[in-house]
């Protein structure tokens, strides 16, 4: 059903979240000047129905996950933007999902090199283990649905 709001019909946009490659490696989330990440970006499809927009968004998200390493996007300093788990819980869960592995080393005053650790490990994991690791990134997403108004001619 088409909804209307002041100024026009409601439209649900599927947007590709804005990332940029960070000069120190990895990718930086699209953030505001205050540092908060934004669930917004470039629109790729528009629907009058939210459920259809959400379904398309989920398809695109699933496609992205088959190609990407979640650790290329992780910034442990902003852990809450990537997972509802704390850093400690996240690390414990990794060890639980991938028994027998050890975490990447933690150099003094630097973050663990998660991206390389994952690239070296991922080929030896089962599909279930990979899905479980992605599941730890419950706040990381590459697409989102945002609402806007359509002004008709």
């Amino acid at each position: 059903m088409v909804r209307r709001k002041a100024g026009g019909t409601v439209l649900f946009l599927v947007v590709r979240v804005g990332w940029r490659e960070w000069y120190t490696g990895g990718y930086e989330w699209f953030r505001g000047n205050e540092g908060a990440c934004r669930s917004s970006g470039r629109p790729v499809a528009a629907y009058a129905d939210r459920a259809r927009a959400e379904a398309h968004c989920a398809e695109l998200e699933a496609e992205a996950r088959t190609h990407l390493s979640p650790f290329n996007f992780l910034e442990p300093h902003w852990m809450e933007d990537f997972s509802t788990l704390s850093r400690e819980e996240f690390e414990q869960q990794i060890l639980a999902v991938v028994p027998g592995t050890s975490l990447p080393s933690k150099p003094e005053r630097r973050e663990r090199d998660w991206a390389k650790w994952w690239d070296d490990l991922v080929d030896r994991l089962s599909d279930e283990q990979r899905e479980a690791v992605w599941g730890l990134f419950d706040q990381l997403h590459f697409y989102a649905v945002v609402e806007t108004a359509l002004e008709e001619a």
Binding site: G18, H67, E151
Partner: protein, 266 residues
């Protein structure tokens, strides 16, 4: 306008970090760029295939993605079997990129095709069928300030409002753009000292345009660098000349109109 068409799209493979241990040079990123539109599916498929084959002549597939999982639906043992079946000896160690560099020149066309077939996640183009019902979304560009200048990334935009015609969307964008320009110095956007970041004209052409309307552009220093940022200070952005300079800076935008497909009802 509505109807079904076939769009040839390029996947976004972007340069990856150079320090990567497995020689990853290209990283897949979400999204595609539309390159061509065909009414006939066969024509679209042929165009896509031609582009794919050209790309494969240039690219080592094992430098795409950081792990075999990012390249293939096959795990490494199965990939090795696949390569044996193609009559080739896989590498003893995991340096697949070097193996490709060394071996691919002596492979037959069929062997190379078989390997690309196995690396089913390394694709550069595709054909997508779509309808052509569009809306036009005005989106605000998010510029981030780094204490010296403003920078942006391609997808860092926020949709504001959608329109059924491009004309109406462009009218809205134009109005918002003019308002935003009053608050910024165009030469502080996209970096501070590179003319090519501001304008699609060359710096020489830009200078001639300014001189043609009676403006004296800044003199370059001994290193050939002109301080455009300082030159702009004090200019009224709403004046005729201020607007003229902004028009020259066509690579600096605060709003965009994005063409967005509206998939048909099922």
């Amino acid at each position: 306008m509505s109807g079904s068409v076939f769009v040839v799209e390029r996947f976004r493979w972007e340069p990856a970090r150079e320090t990567h241990a497995q020689r990853k040079k290209l990283a897949w990123m979400p999204g595609t760029t539309s390159l061509g539109c065909f009414e006939d599916q066969e024509e679209a498929e042929a165009d896509c295939l031609r582009r794919e084959q050209e790309a494969r002549q240039q690219i080592n597939p094992f430098t795409c993605g950081g792990s075999m999982h990012e390249r293939s639906g096959l795990d490494e043992p199965r990939l090795r079997d696949w390569i044996l079946d193609a009559g080739l000896e896989p590498p003893e160690e995991a340096d697949w990129a070097r193996w490709w560099d060394e071996r691919s020149p002596t492979m037959t066309g069929i062997q190379r095709t078989r390997i690309w077939e196995a690396l089913d996640k390394v694709r550069f183009f595709r054909v997508r069928q779509t309808n052509t019902t569009l809306v036009f979304v005005v989106a605000a560009v998010h510029w981030t300030y780094n204490d010296e200048n403003f920078y942006r990334s391609a997808d860092a935009i926020e949709p504001m409002r959608a329109f059924t015609t491009r004309e109406k969307a462009e009218g809205q964008r134009r109005k918002l753009e003019d308002e935003a320009r009053e608050n910024y110095n165009p030469f502080q956007m996209n970096g501070l000292s590179d003319w090519s970041a501001w304008s699609s004209l060359s710096e020489e052409e830009g200078r001639k345009c300014l001189q043609a309307v009676g403006l004296e552009p800044p003199e370059p220093d001994e290193y050939g660098h002109a301080d455009w940022d300082e030159w702009w200070e004090g200019t009224d952005p709403a004046s005729v000349l201020g607007r003229f300079v902004w028009e020259l800076c066509d690579k600096v935008a605060f709003y965009e109109v994005v063409e967005v497909e509206v998939p048909p009802d099922r």
